[in-house]
Each structure stands twice: as C-alpha cells, then as structure tokens.
C-alpha cells in the first residue's frame, strides 16, 4: 500500500511507522531522549534555579548532597501538579523530543525546507507546554504575567482545571506537528509523476 494511503486511512499508524523509522536509528533516538530529558529537567529545575545556584555555591556541600537536591526536585512533579498537569508535564517533553528528532531527520534526509505548518505547530506546542509548566507555584513564571498582560488573569479561575488545559493544548499541538512531519516522511522522496492523460482503454476481446 502507498504510504500516503496508509496515512490518510490511519494517521495514528502512520505516525507510529514514521516514529519507528526515525527512532530506529540510534542517533535520532539519542537526540529525542536528550531533548526530552533537557526539557523535563528544565521544567522541574528552572523555577528553582536560584535555590540550585545557592546550594551549589555553598562551600563545603558534598557533591552527593547537591545531586540529591536535584533528584529531590524531580519529586516536584508529584507535589506541584495536579493529576492532569503532572501527566502533561511528563508527556510534553517526550513528544517534544520525538518532534525535534523527526524534524531534524526529515530536514537532514530530504535536505528540504520544512513548511510553516510543522514549525508553527511545533513552536506552539513547545510554547504552550512551557507556559503550562510554569505553574510550579501559583501565579508564577509565565502564565500569570502573560494573562495579566492580556488582561485575562481572571479567566484562569473560570477554567475547570485551573490552567492545566494549556498542557492538553500543548500535547495536541505537538501531536499535530508530529502528524504533519510524519506525513512528510511518508511521502516518497521522488519527483511526482504528472497525472496520466486520459487514454482509451483497449477493449479485450476473446480471440479465437
């Protein structure tokens, strides 16, 4: 079956197949994993970078204690977020890692420019994910300043999940970006043939 037909009939299957094609290569798997780990670590550590800096510059603190601090801050995933936000905080870095690996794979393999759609969806997913992850403290980081700037801070109170909806939006945008790039990867790297001109079908005749 033509890969494009597969994509049209079952986008999820095509995304998985494109993901396998990319992540089956160790370099891209490493890129996806490294990106995911960096994004997750940034999500959990960035709000407390001043604490990390203060502890790491305190004389006489053993390296083991410093590493314990970093590990303990990962526990903030459970203590700082509700169920929906915690799941999206964990899922967004993974999707972003896969997305980046697929974007790089496509760009390098095909040496082609990416369309604005893929980049916009990827950026939107990353941006909304970063904003959503900002709620390690109430009103902190990005969400409140942005909403205050837009004059919509009060709208947060109206959201049933208190802002965790942004994480779901981020997941949706990253999935859209992955879908768009999977579609590109599934397209055979050939110059498309022009549509065949209409021709008269030869009639088959039983010849004696």
């Amino acid at each position: 079956m033509n890969p494009m037909d597969t994509l049209r009939q079952n986008p999820a299957r095509a995304m998985i197949e494109a993901g396998r094609e990319v992540l089956g290569r160790p370099a891209y798997l490493l890129l996806a994993a490294a990106t995911a780990i960096i994004v997750l670590a940034a999500t959990l550590w960035l709000p407390n970078y001043r604490l990390i800096g203060a502890v790491f510059t305190t004389p006489g603190v053993a390296l083991g204690i410093k590493l314990q601090l970093l590990a303990s801050l990962v526990g903030g995933l459970a203590s700082n977020f509700g169920a929906v936000a915690a799941v999206s905080t964990a899922v967004i870095p993974i999707l972003f890692g896969v997305d980046v690996a697929m974007l790089v794979y496509f760009a390098r393999q095909r040496r082609a420019r990416l369309a604005r759609g893929e980049i916009a969806a990827s950026l939107g997913g990353a941006a909304s994910g970063a904003i959503a992850a900002g709620c390690a403290a109430c009103g902190s980081f990005l969400l409140l300043p942005i909403l205050s700037f837009l004059g919509a801070a009060g709208a947060l109170a109206l959201l049933p999940l208190g802002g965790a909806e942004l994480g779901l939006v981020s997941i949706a945008l990253l999935l859209l970006s992955i879908y768009l790039i999977a579609r590109k990867i599934a397209t055979p790297p050939v110059c498309a043939l022009p549509p065949a001109p209409a021709t008269h079908q030869p009639t088959t005749r039983n010849t004696p």
Partner: protein
C-alpha cells in the same frame, strides 16, 4: 537529476546550514519564554528580616528561619502547609516558620480578605490563634477562590473567638495595610508566585524555594543552612 531540476523542486531545496533553522527557532522561542524568570532575578532583593511583627511558629531563637509567602486560596500552599508543620515538628528549636501574606489578587480575589481574617484572629486571640485560624482555613478551603466568605467568622468561632468583634475587625479593613506591606516585601524579594519560601541560615545566607517542593528538598536545604554558622 540536475541541480537546475532540484532548484525547481516545488518543495524547495535549501543550503545545509538552513537545515537546522527549525531547531534554532524552537530553541530561541523556548529561551524567549524563559526570559521572564531570568528577568526577575534583576528584581530580586533581600527579604525583610524577621521581626516582632512577624507570625512565627517554633522557637523565636531558632538558628534557621523559614519565611513562607503564602496565599490562602493557592492549592499548592494548602498542600505545602502540612509539610512545613512537619519541618517545625522535626526540627524543634532549630527551625522557626514565619508566615507572610502574598495573596495573588489577579487569580484569587478572595485571598486578601482571608489574609485580613487571619490578622484579625491574631489581633483578637494572639499568636497561637493566628496559627490555629490559618490551619483551619487551609483545612477547609477548596482553594482557587472557592471558599465561601461566610466561612471566615465560622472559622473564628471554631478557634474560640467571639463572632461579633471578629466581624467588626474584618469589616474595618484595618489590617489591609499590613497585607499590602507583605506583598511589597514578597515582590521585592523576587517571589514569582506562591508558595515562595526563603530559608535564612544563621550566617544570613538565603535559600529560595519556589513551589510546593517535597519534604525531602526542604530537609536537604535546612540541613545545609544549619551548618552555615
């Protein structure tokens, strides 16, 4: 396939250097999004020293002070409250917990009045009643601005205060200035939200903790702070 043909490819071909542009764009966007956090460092100052006006749980002479800036309608502060109780219980005479108000009015419009209610409890019942009122408030509030204001005098009665003087105090708004002063202190200290805690070591070194961080994180930082003579 000739280069001419490639350049005519409707998808478009590009120089190898351009291939990384999506990654650079994404990285730049993420950095730009993180800028407000770094920008706040410029605003960070020194938290007001602990004084007699502060509400303090634990020994006043404790070598380590943990100053919490809290919002009574913040769900993370509600979950952080038992962690701090546990810290004070497990470090008797070593850690004192100071509570300062940081109601985030943009998302919790009811929080400033609740902060005033805790101050009325302190005025009418003293330091111990302030803390029992605050404990009870955090215990019953559903958070995110969903506490019925009618509960405030009921909490006062629950902690042993007379309803009428409490209501009169709350109506007067005489503690609003103190709440505003605490907010100014929080902003000057660089608090990005609530809960925001500053752990002050005996030698004056400070450790800022943003959010409802686990007990293990606080324990590690307090142990480090206790050694800073």
């Amino acid at each position: 396939m000739s280069r001419k043909h490639e350049s005519e490819n409707p998808r478009g071909w590009c120089a190898r250097d351009d291939l990384w542009s999506p990654v650079f764009i994404i990285a730049a966007a993420m950095l730009a999004l993180a800028m407000p956090a770094w920008a706040q460092e410029e605003m960070a100052g020194i938290v007001e020293p602990v004084s007699a006006r502060d509400h303090l749980r634990g020994a006043r002479a404790a070598p380590v002070k943990l100053i919490e800036f809290g919002d009574t309608e913040c769900p993370l502060c509600k979950r952080f409250h038992p962690t701090l109780k546990r810290i004070v219980d497990e470090y008797p005479g070593k850690v004192a917990w100071v509570f300062r108000h940081f109601p985030i009015v943009e998302i919790h419009p009811k929080a400033p009045k609740e902060a005033e209610a805790t101050e009325c409890a302190a005025e009418l019942g003293g330091e111990t009643v302030f803390w029992t009122y605050l404990d009870r408030l955090y215990e019953i509030t559903p958070s995110n601005d969903r506490l019925d204001p009618a509960e405030l005098p009921r909490i006062a009665q629950h902690v042993g205060l007379a309803r009428a003087p409490f209501e009169q105090c709350l109506k007067s708004g005489r503690h609003a200035a103190r709440i505003a002063a605490d907010v100014v202190d929080a902003l000057a200290a660089g608090a990005p939200g609530t809960p925001y805690s500053v752990i002050v070591a005996p030698n004056g070194k400070t450790y800022e903790v943003v959010g409802n961080q686990p007990y293990e994180t606080l324990r590690l930082v307090i142990d480090i702070a206790l050694k800073q003579k």
